[in-house]
């Protein structure tokens, strides 16, 4: 009996029971559906074992959207609880669990896969490659992320969710104060998906360094690829720190070690330092690719080359270096002395300089441009003032003396949502709309898209700007309720209305996908936006080999120059193309990782050891496996190309120019 009690939820509520039933019903529905329509084989062959970067990108995209709704549900519950004073919707414990999972899900299981989706979808195409450097490792990265996310998500129906905040500060996250297995889930789920992220970083660094098309020097790489390159370098250097911190946290909780305890020499601030040495660069892992997407979109819809290409690149490099030098600004008030605070205050504010350079470059790109106000462009234009406000409040927070006033208030919450939502979420939605036709063969409806943008923007302003005021008035973050006498009521009600509008906007995106799937025309050609970089030089739908012949590049706007100046992109003969085989190993290995993670959460040592051995057996099998992939023969490539109606050298170009 005691054994089963460990799996029970410590603080069950009707909402959790309802979720359990919903999860069970959906799971049964999926299994029955797949069996009834005989889709198991299709699922296995086309998706679970795929190593194609485009399909992996689409799976990242779907997972990210799924997690957006999970994290969004948490957000709505929080805002509803705080909408009125003394509300009884949630109790304190439930509220703690919700803000913890909201933070973790949104950063690690929504924003990260969202940008990884774009890395996978765009980077190989933009550099004119046929895949990433290590296609199987790429599949493994995805599946590790996915099982990590799933492990994290089952916490609220088996054993209890983490409740120590997404930063999981010790000693609060230690066994004394977090008694359920929730924080074990946190440690292990993030560990597993973090290993996947690290491998993505290695994979894409190698891809970008070694697999660029002939003629594409570093300073001719499209801006999104540059941003992906820098973000992946940050991944490689930041994630190992998190790995170690999580190992130590796990050791404290499961093996009675004393890294972060307050007895036997442990030091709780060590966790805070490690967490933010990873956590602050993490912010830039998310924002730099978003900047990359904005650069592509703004340049396309202004009809101009990006202004200040070199300045853009150098500002990103500078931001990436500074990102590692500011972590202490997350705990100015925790007693580290005036000198340390001053140093980190200055490095923090220094980040505003290269970021400002980028903002001006985007504005100058638009200046004198012929701007087309499409949905992706609206997001990009909306981003500029909103993000600048978020940056300005960041400078306010960066002043360490003043931070004693704002620290741990809603002002901070308003600030980071003010950077992440217009910075990252807007960019992802802009990218989603922009690249949708390339990957799915139809455009999303512009009318619904623009409506979504306005709903989201107005909702965002209503939801977060009141928090600046209530924060300055002293409303602490992570407080599950407040009395009427505080006067926070009306501002919080306004936030709730804003949050509801944002929820509507996200539903509108789903409706848009459904509506456009039903109604949008399918004959959109391969370059519906009249765009500028190489990904638009592929056919739609993209053949599995991406490019029949590798492109010859001579500028950072290679496709645009091919269209306008008549550069020849594709020269030479079509030859046999080497492709990697599908593999079930990444999926199976990740499932074993899931078993290992789950067993560690509940300290079930026998299955944990067996699963770990299973992981090593998979690695050994992979080592012995001889798999040289296969070749798509030139004849077959020509036939496929012929189906698109163009085989010969110059036709690609004339097709492209005729569309302008």
């Amino acid at each position: 009996m005691e054994f089963f009690q460990r799996f029970a939820i410590p603080h069950p509520s009707p909402a959790i029971y309802a979720s359990m039933v919903a999860i069970a019903l959906v799971s049964i529905g999926i299994v029955v559906g797949l069996t009834y329509f005989k889709k198991w084989g299709y699922l296995w062959r086309e998706w679970l074992t795929t190593v194609d970067h485009k399909k992996i990108g689409i799976m990242y995209l779907l997972s990210a959207l799924l997690m957006l709704f999970r994290g969004g549900a948490d957000a709505i519950m929080m805002r509803a609880q705080l909408a009125t004073p003394d509300a009884k919707l949630l109790d304190a414990q439930h509220y703690n669990e919700i803000f913890t999972t909201h933070g973790v899900v949104m950063i690690l299981f929504m924003a990260m896969p969202f940008i990884f989706a774009f890395f996978n979808l765009i980077v190989p195409l933009q550099i004119g490659a046929r895949d990433v450097a290590f296609p199987r490792l790429n599949a493994l990265s995805f599946w590790l992320f996915f099982v990590g996310a799933m492990l994290f998500n089952i916490s609220f129906v088996i054993g209890g969710s983490p409740d120590a905040g997404w930063t999981s500060y010790f000693p609060l996250a230690g066994n004394d104060f977090s008694t359920s297995v929730g924080t074990n889930y946190y440690m292990l789920a993030i560990q597993i998906s973090g290993i996947g992220s690290l491998m993505t970083g290695i994979n894409f660094c190698t891809t970008i360094i070694k697999m660029r098309a002939p003629g594409m020097t570093l300073m001719k790489m499209p801006m999104f690829t540059w941003s992906a390159f820098i973000a992946n370098i940050i991944v490689v250097f930041a994630f190992p720190v998190l790995t170690v911190a999580l190992i130590m946290g796990t050791a404290d909780r499961l093996f009675g070690a004393n890294f972060f305890t307050t007895s036997n020499g442990g030091m709780d601030m060590l966790w805070a330092n490690f967490f933010w040495v990873w956590g602050h660069p993490e912010v830039y892992i998310l924002i730099l690719p978003a900047f990359g997407l904005y650069s592509e979109i703004i340049s396309t819809f202004s009809g101009r080359n990006l202004f200040g290409y070199r300045a853009m690149v150098w500002s990103m490099i500078l931001i990436s270096l500074l990102s590692f030098l500011v972590w202490t600004h997350h705990f100015f008030t925790m007693g580290q002395g005036a000198l340390t605070n001053s140093i980190f205050s200055i490095t923090t504010m220094a980040i505003a300089v290269p970021t400002g350079v980028k903002i001006f470059n985007w504005l100058f790109t638009m200046w004198k441009g012929k701007i087309r106000f499409t949905t992706p462009m609206l997001y990009s234009i909306g981003f500029i003032p909103l993000f600048t406000i978020g940056g300005a409040t960041g400078v306010m927070l960066g002043m360490s003396a003043a931070d004693y006033q704002y620290h741990n208030t809603m002002f901070l919450v308003a600030h980071f949502h003010n950077t992440i939502i217009p910075g990252v979420v807007f960019a992802m939605l802009a990218g989603l709309t922009y690249y949708w036709p390339k990957f799915f063969g139809f455009m999303l409806n512009e009318k619904i898209g623009k409506l979504t943008f306005w709903l989201l923007t107005i909702g965002f302003v209503l939801a977060f700007f009141p928090m600046y005021l209530s924060g300055l008035d002293g409303q602490a973050r992570r407080m599950y309720t407040y009395s009427e006498a505080t006067g926070f009521g009306p501002l919080n009600m306004l936030s709730f209305v804003g949050a509801a509008l944002m929820a509507l906007a996200f539903l509108a995106i789903v409706y848009n996908i459904y509506y456009s799937y039903k109604n949008s025309p399918r004959n959109i050609g391969s370059d519906p936006w009249d765009a500028r970089s190489l990904e638009w030089a592929t056919h739609t739908p993209i053949p599995e080999y991406n490019f029949a012949r590798l492109p010859q590049v001579s500028s950072s706007q290679a496709f645009w120059d091919a269209k306008k100046k008549g550069h020849e992109l594709f020269k030479g003969e079509i030859k046999d193309i080497h492709m990697p085989n599908n593999s079930g190993v990444p999926f199976v290995m990740s499932c074993i990782f899931f078993v290992a993670g789950f067993s560690f959460v509940f300290a079930l040592w026998v299955p944990a050891v067996i699963a770990l051995i299973g992981v090593f057996v998979c690695m050994a099998l992979r080592s012995f496996e001889q798999d040289h992939g296969y070749h798509i023969h030139a004849k077959e490539v020509k036939e496929t190309e012929a189906k698109y109606g163009k085989v010969l050298n110059n036709e690609d170009r004339s097709r492209a120019t005729s569309r302008v």
């Binding site: 190992p240 720190v241 170690v244 130590m248 009675g256 890294f259 030091m267």
Partner: protein, 198 residues
């Protein structure tokens, strides 16, 4: 698979070159991993609670044996790669075998050392210092253990399949890994043991 005969075998295909670069980047991540562990160790090494201090438990003899075994193994794997470049399969396999035996010797002494600590009352749970020490040494030791399995698999593959671009590539990457563990050990030896004994 196109093979470029102007290059050494381990660099001779495109995929081989990608693998080697990818592994160097992975080693960059490993440097961060160990740097973080060292940071934790230096932060916590004097926070011994009621447990022993570094000077009380460190002993020079086993550490010297470990250092000797591991540094020699780095030399022998270098000889192995040299033999591979000359196309001498048997010599290469022999040197790889010696490398792994030295690695095994290292690991044996390290396990013995951990048992001694345990008997002296310095367990994983004793203090922040012991936890940081054993996590740092343990992570390095786990890498060596993994390396022993990995190296064995490579020897088997070289014996079965001969020196092909694939096996040469794997052997070369393994040698990078092994040298890296050696470098990490030099830091452990200097900054954990020697500093702790002073």
């Amino acid at each position: 698979m196109k093979i470029d005969h102007a290059q050494p075998l381990e660099y001779s295909t495109d995929q081989n070159q990608l693998n080697i670069l990818g592994f160097w980047i992975f080693l960059g991540a490993e440097i961060m991993l160990f740097a973080t562990l060292f940071t934790a160790y230096f932060t916590l090494s004097h926070r011994t609670g009621s447990g022993p201090t570094p000077a009380e438990i460190f002993e020079i003899t086993p550490v010297l044996i470990e250092t000797f075994a591991l540094l020699t193994s780095s030399f022998t794997i270098g000889l192995g790669i040299h033999a591979m470049r000359l196309g001498r399969k048997n010599a290469m396999v022999t040197f790889f075998g010696i490398t792994l035996l030295l690695g095994l010797c290292f690991l044996g002494v390290e396990i013995f050392e951990f048992m001694t600590y345990y008997h002296e009352g310095a367990t994983y749970q004793t203090s922040a210092f012991t936890a940081a020490l054993m996590t740092t040494l343990g992570t390095h030791g786990a890498h060596v253990t993994l390396g022993l399995f990995w190296g064995t698999f490579i020897i088997i593959q070289v014996i079965k399949r001969g020196l092909t671009p694939q096996t040469a590539n794997k052997a070369f990457i393994f040698s990078l890994y092994w040298h890296f563990l050696d470098v990490v050990w030099i830091f452990i030896f200097s900054f954990i043991y020697l500093k702790g004994m002073m």
